[in-house]
Symmetry: C3
Subunit: 340 residues, 3 copies
Amino acid sequence: MKLSRISQLLNEQYHGEDIDIERVGSLEADCKKAILYVENSKYLEKAKARKPAALVIPPGLNTGGIPFIEVEDPKLVFIKLLEIFNPSRNKPDKAYIDKDVKISTEADVKPDVTVMAGAVIMKGVRIGAGSVIYPNCVLEKDCSIGTGTILYSGVIIRERCTVGNDCIIHSGTVVGSDGYGFYEKEGKIIKIPQIGIVEIADRVEIGANCAVDRATVDKTVIGSDTKLDNMVHIAHNVRIGERCLIAAQAGISGSVNIGNHVIILGQAGIADHVSIADNTIILAQSGIPSDVKKAEVLFGTIARPIKEHHRIHAALKYLPDLLKRVKDLESKLEGRTDKY
Amino acid sequence: MKLSRISQLLNEQYHGEDIDIERVGSLEADCKKAILYVENSKYLEKAKARKPAALVIPPGLNTGGIPFIEVEDPKLVFIKLLEIFNPSRNKPDKAYIDKDVKISTEADVKPDVTVMAGAVIMKGVRIGAGSVIYPNCVLEKDCSIGTGTILYSGVIIRERCTVGNDCIIHSGTVVGSDGYGFYEKEGKIIKIPQIGIVEIADRVEIGANCAVDRATVDKTVIGSDTKLDNMVHIAHNVRIGERCLIAAQAGISGSVNIGNHVIILGQAGIADHVSIADNTIILAQSGIPSDVKKAEVLFGTIARPIKEHHRIHAALKYLPDLLKRVKDLESKLEGRTDKY
Amino acid sequence: MKLSRISQLLNEQYHGEDIDIERVGSLEADCKKAILYVENSKYLEKAKARKPAALVIPPGLNTGGIPFIEVEDPKLVFIKLLEIFNPSRNKPDKAYIDKDVKISTEADVKPDVTVMAGAVIMKGVRIGAGSVIYPNCVLEKDCSIGTGTILYSGVIIRERCTVGNDCIIHSGTVVGSDGYGFYEKEGKIIKIPQIGIVEIADRVEIGANCAVDRATVDKTVIGSDTKLDNMVHIAHNVRIGERCLIAAQAGISGSVNIGNHVIILGQAGIADHVSIADNTIILAQSGIPSDVKKAEVLFGTIARPIKEHHRIHAALKYLPDLLKRVKDLESKLEGRTDKY
């Protein structure tokens, strides 16, 4: 693709030679025939050393002769470039329903839906226009998928759960598994039936091999624009707000209530029935045992405000020595006492 | 359903008007036309505020005119109500084997078994009466499933592994993956073949996207009535007793031996070859490096008895300041020494 | 199988009676008719107590009349015995392609490939000679599998990703899910398309229910002979060297660069963009926030050198008491001050 054509698609001016661009480059690899973006001046020299065919730069940088597009927000243009060069084509050029699919005659599949081989669509399922169901997905009875949603291979949506519009769910993820509810009585462990559902709002993305449990009687909710990474566990009755970012292997226990735009990093855990204020940031591997009432940055098990955690972490280095020093003080003072 | 009918099914007396009940309610949501249970007096006012059609209460509470059923154990009645109103019908009304199933002619499938579309049942597999195999499950060669067991969509049981009676295994779980066994010799990493099996006893429940590894030569065992949450990892040669509760994302390393009624909370881990005494409680995110010889409550990495952990956690807040105080003491004492 | 026949297959001399051996035994169970290996003299008595039919021993032990094979490296012989007695036969006796498979006419499937029921092989896929694809796997468009590789049931390889020769990937694992990349701008969360791939080298083994994310533009790489346990998360743009061992539930964040022969134990996590030196050992549940420049053994969140961690851990026990002791010293010194 000519740089002039890219410039046209981006609706941004280009400068220098109108060369051929074959792909989007990365700072980590050779960039022959690639267009590469530079977030800020710090990365300019490294970018030039990759010898890209063209650069996307913020205002005021000197590319030293490499053709370039100068924009206010190079990262945003980078995203557009990825869309332009996307070789994945996550939606097929033309919607189709594979002949090796098992679709119930009582399912409601709207126009322009793609269902690939091996998928099972049970009775009462609804799939909105333009959605794409990859191979070997299972949509159990009466579940519903909005419009423009992609379920990658092997996703399982259990009965009656609902997924919104323009969602992306990655392979191996299970939506609507039973919540973990048991009642111990006289040495017996009795299962509490989990008859609620999961409700996933619009533009939610869920990574690979996650599990989102159905509520006991009501619903587990994931708010719009919230993004989950891989292997995130969402227990029953959890309510997650909008625009939350939850990184890989985080675990959210039962009945937790998470506000809007909460950020939870990898392998962190939240205890059951806890509420988390809007805009809270929970760092990796942290454990949150109780309510977080106002936005702060938390770290550690049991989590503390980040500054407190770092002060303690730094001080711990001196703890073994401190034991000796105190003993020393005690014996000196004791010695002194003896003296008198 | 009339309250009188529910009362009849529960074999419990009702009081007040014989109204219509449409569902089981939750304290977290509006309860119009719902029957709601109150665990104890603490929740009574909140329950009444939800305006339920009827209440299930412990003895001696005043429902203020709301029809009610008074019972010794409201939670147990709640469980029965969930079963009565269960809209999931996890077992079909009538057993069937879908035509889009691949069942080996050399499999032994007992009467009243349901196998849904896309499931693969290989040679030598045995499935006991009344079991239900959801879509896209794979039962590999010579594995065996007891009676009355449910495997939800996408469960994989690898060759020769055995699952007991009345078990529930949730979607995406793998039973019988190879244990992680390698031998390093002269810079090479040699795989140790894992030729044992997994043996799952009766009434075991396993959450979504778990992995239970087969033993190297013998068997990995999960005892009866033990319940695993989502994404639990059980390594090879592990033996878990009866009535254990293992929460989400916990990891049990190779050859661990867990007693009966051990409780392991989320994201906890147990090192290999460790034995855990009956009734031990391991709190969330804890790491257990060595044998637990008698039941206690453990917390932290490396885990300590809970009281010790909490005392240390509380004291840590003062550690950075303590460094200064000791320095101060030292200089005072030093100064004093100088004096003399 | 006669002991003489085993001796012949191993090319090792046997001593004692030429008895029948039915299986490989384990120290954890009764060993009737089994051959059992003894790693060193420490385990000899325990092994004899299991009453095995025969023993594999290191030089110089006395088996007390039990027939034996004496070898330099009993563990290596144990591995050969497991291969001899392997009842799994992970590759079928004769390659076959099940009739219930959906293979694109535009896929390139080499001779001696087995594809079992329910697998979906899309357009442009290449599968090398002798590979085995278990039931319900999905090989998306243009992905490629080397020779002699096994994908167990339910493995998903997303489009354009490549798996090398003689690899083993366990059930439920996803290779090539989108990396977790978002850009926040003016309160909106914009997805960064992930158009790179995953490249898995030769002799790599990946456990059950793992997720390996595709790179943003380039490739996520797993080096040859590296072995991953179950539920390991590998984020986008990660590069892992050769012969690494990564235990269950470990999480590797985006753009991490791991050297050769790095060992990462269970539930450990590495922050994004971190580099880890060759031969580093990261213990269980550790968190690595920054580069590890030379090989050492690290433990804890935030990780420290193991010795430092253990000294601190031991000292922590005395911290609550230390607070009192320092207070005591202060009041004594204060009292003393008053005296003067």
